[in-house]
Symmetry: C2
Subunit: 165 residues, 2 copies
C-alpha cells in the first residue's frame, strides 16, 4: 500500500487495527458520554443525579456508563452518608481513571485553541499544588519538545499483531 507521494510507508495497514492502544482505550472510553462523565468525576461531580442534570445524559445511559467504568476499574462506587439520610452512593476516579487526565487535558487544549469563542477559553486548568496553568506537551526522550503538530512516526512494537484475513 502506498500514498500519493509514492513514499513507502512501513505498512501501517498491515497491522491489526484493534490491537492498537488507541483502539483498546477507545473501547473503554470512546463512546459518546464516557469521557464527559470522567471529566465530571474529576471535577467533583460524583453523584448520579448531579451527573444527569449537569451532563443532560439519559438516566439509563448514565447507569450503564457508570457500571462500565466501575467494571473497567476506572471508577469506584463508594457509599457516603449525609446526616438525616440513609447511605447513598457516589462515583470517584480510581488510580487508573485519574491517569486518563492527560487525555482530557489534551482535548481541552485542542478545544481551547480551535473552538474557543472570542472571549477565550471556558476553563483554565491549573496545577493544584502551585496554581500555575497546565498544558500537555509532546516530548521525545532525546529532550526535544515536538510542539503542537508533532512529527511522529509509528513503529511496530513488541506487542504488534499483523492483520488477519
Amino acid at each position: 500500500m502506498s500514498n500519493s507521494t509514492g513514499w513507502a510507508v512501513p505498512e501501517y495497514s498491515a497491522f491489526d487495527s484493534e490491537t492498537c492502544s488507541i483502539a483498546r482505550t477507545l473501547a473503554l472510553v470512546g463512546d459518546r458520554w464516557t469521557l464527559l462523565v470522567l471529566r465530571d468525576l474529576a471535577n467533583g461531580v460524583t453523584r448520579f443525579d448531579d451527573l444527569t442534570t449537569h451532563l443532560g445524559i439519559a438516566r439509563n445511559v448514565l447507569s450503564k456508563r457508570l457500571a462500565a467504568l466501575v467494571d473497567a476499574e476506572l471508577a469506584v462506587r463508594t457509599g457516603y452518608r449525609t446526616e438525616g439520610s440513609r447511605e447513598r452512593y457516589e462515583y470517584r476516579l480510581s488510580r487508573a481513571g485519574r491517569e486518563l487526565m492527560p487525555i482530557l487535558l489534551a482535548f481541552m487544549g485542542w478545544g481551547d485553541r480551535h473552538l474557543a469563542g472570542p472571549q477565550g477559553p471556558p476553563a483554565l486548568p491549573v496545577h493544584a499544588d502551585c496554581g500555575a496553568p497546565v498544558r500537555v506537551a509532546v516530548t521525545c526522550e532525546a529532550g526535544h519538545d515536538l510542539g503542537e503538530r508533532p512529527r511522529v512516526r509509528v513503529q511496530p512494537g513488541p506487542g504488534s499483531r499483523r492483520r488477519e484475513g
Copy 2:
C-alpha cells in the same frame, strides 16, 4: 453542591457542560470511529477502501465520518492519480487535524500502560526527526512535571458560561 469530603468545590456543576472545550472537541471527534479514522490518516492510510478494510468500518459510516472531518476542516479531500487510472480521492490531515496528535498520543500512552499484553505495547511512536521514543507529558508554567496522575484544578476561564435552567 458538595462531595463526601465536605470540601466545597468551586461549583464546577454550575457551569455549562457543553461550553467546555472537552465537550466541544468531543462533538467533532467523539464518536465511535472518528479518532481511529484520524489515527489511520496520520499513519498514511488515506484512501476510502483502505480505510474500510483496515478499520472494519461500514462504508456508509466511513463516508459520513470523512465528510464530517472535511466539513470541520480536520481533513482535506484531495485528488490523486495513479497511472492508468482516472483521478481518485484521498483524505489527509489538515493543520488542525495534525494538532490532534497529542490526543492520539495520550490515548496510546494510557493504553500502553494499562492494556498492553505481556509482550508489551503494540506500537512505538518515535520522533520523526531524531527517532527517539515520544511521550505526552503534563507540565505547568512553573516548570513542574505533573506526572502520570496530574493534580489539576479547573478554574472558570474568560469564556465560561453558567448553566442555564
